[in-house]
Symmetry: D2
């Protein structure tokens, strides 16, 4: 994780990285800018509370079989400890469908929007698990009204240590950014913040 901090130093990028347990939160606080809590930990209540006592913002991924209520209640566990900087992330749910790694539930975006003030972003990489689907679903995520995207990118996806099958190349990523910016302008001509 020290390497991430060096990259931050050298390039000015902010670092979002996952904490798998309470001591992981200590690490992210030292070297990162935002704590990611993974889908498998969405109901790890001790971890949620520890993140709630952090000064860093938290990215809370939706559990694989989490209802909307369970997801928002998990966010409450964080906020009840005093940390209100929570961003929700839809990353796909587990269904019978086999053509994707998970089924990206984009209707969750307007559903969350209606009952919560929390920002919500979309992860089309884990949500699909397949390179050729990432850009279309990223476009859809912005079109449905998400506040942001989280996308896996690798300069040589075939050499990635994990999740290479769903990583975009740098060229694909650049094209994606241009497309989603144009879509965002269509649906939100005036700045919202």
């Amino acid at each position: 994780m020290k390497i991430l901090a060096d990259v931050r130093e050298a390039y000015g990028l902010k670092i979002v990285t996952e904490a798998l347990d309470e001591s992981g939160v200590d690490m992210v606080e030292r070297y990162g800018d935002m704590i990611q809590l993974g889908a498998r930990n969405m109901q790890n209540f001790s971890l949620l509370k520890r993140a709630g006592r952090s000064h860093l913002p938290v990215l809370l991924k939706r559990g694989l079989s989490a209802t909307l209520d369970e997801w928002l209640l998990a966010a409450e566990y964080i906020m009840s400890e005093g940390n209100y900087n929570v961003v929700l992330c839809e990353r796909g749910i587990r269904t019978f469908a086999q053509h994707t790694r998970n089924t990206l539930d984009l209707a969750a975006i307007p559903a969350v929007r209606r009952i919560s003030h929390l920002p919500v972003i979309v992860d089309p990489s884990h949500g699909t698990g397949k390179n050729f689907m990432v850009t279309p679903l990223a476009r859809a995520g912005v079109a449905v009204g998400a506040d942001g995207l989280i996308v896996e990118v690798h300069d040589q996806p075939e050499r990635a240590l994990s999740d290479g099958a769903q990583a975009l190349t740098l060229d694909q990523y650049e094209a994606l950014v241009n497309e989603v910016r144009a879509i965002h302008e269509v649906i939100a001509p005036t700045p919202v913040g």
Copy 2:
């Protein structure tokens, strides 16, 4: 169904309407322009074959728990009888999620695109079941690359005989058309045929 034919006459609109059984196909052939086969009939093989012997194009909705293979094989039942004018329609699958009537599986669009030449459209009305979600999901459907949309519209949704909760008003529909046209231009600057 005679009324639909009168409307067609008066306004020049094309009529797509559902055939629930083989005699329903006779009716649509007489008064309509396209035969819709509903999600609950996606594996009604006698009906699929009857539609395959029609001169009208067929709109084949995905079954509530249909895999991609099952959906495309249902289309094969139609095409094997000689009718190649089949349009697929994603209208949501059944999952544990309760914030929508069905879970709209937009990743099915690029997945179908990759293995089939058939056009595929999106139904954000049945796919969500809720008025306030229809426009965001319609935008997402176009952004993901669908060839079209099917949307419920009613001049007075609160008086609709069925599915009023998911119907758009005429004003909402007009706004939707403008938005999806703009999104379509972003993702498809050159005509595709």
Copy 3:
């Protein structure tokens, strides 16, 4: 189907066989003793109504993604035409689980029992799709209170034209019958009908 009638004649067995469409019901009425309606046709309303006008009893399989209400309402379509001899059959639902062909939902048996007078049986063959699971799930079906079982049997499963992987041999079938009879006595020491 004539062959089935000959078997019935020769051995005195009753014949339950599936009608895929309305003309199939005519056939079963001629040669069979009970009309089976398959999971994929559970919401084929024309077929349900035709079976409702038959003098034969009907075996109504649960749809792959049918709720309890939808299943019982499908039975109502049959009964509303005057045929009250409907037997329900749980044969597994579609879920994310991949270790079986379908997920046998045995809790549906007491759930149906509580709100309906209709008899309900269990199909452990389609419910699992695997030979080694059929006997355990058949035992469980009887233990949960089902009124009967429907089991695939083949004297040479490896030569079966379809569904061989889930068929029991004659020896396995005989052992199963002995076990489920003993379980039935445990849970229902006095006759219930």
Copy 4:
């Protein structure tokens, strides 16, 4: 948790209780006899590893959307730390079905049996969430070949602090024990250890 230890002292009962986090394991080690890891923690890898360093046996509940592989791999996390005393527990998966709290997947028992040496038990209380279903599903669990049951019992379910709707009364529990013993004898006439 001190109270549980007092009960153990007074009545000679063994105590199985849940550890929600690593410090919870310390507590169970002090006052209990077996560590339960809940469905929501099935992929809490730090907790799994901590339980793997305990001298107490571990009851590992299946996650709400866990595949068989994921469940067995979670058990591997425990065993890889040296603790081989792991008992698996099927407690229902999340599906579209709404007549139960979860869908009890009893086919998981023979499926686990075939690929693992680990004992596997059934939880018909969480698996159904409804008092009237607990006994039938407990019987089914034993009939399908489970090594044991875990059942919620309360002398006054209507006054239970949690999960009262699925708790059995003492009389119901006694009747259940008699029934499942008789079923167990049917399927396993010779002692298995």
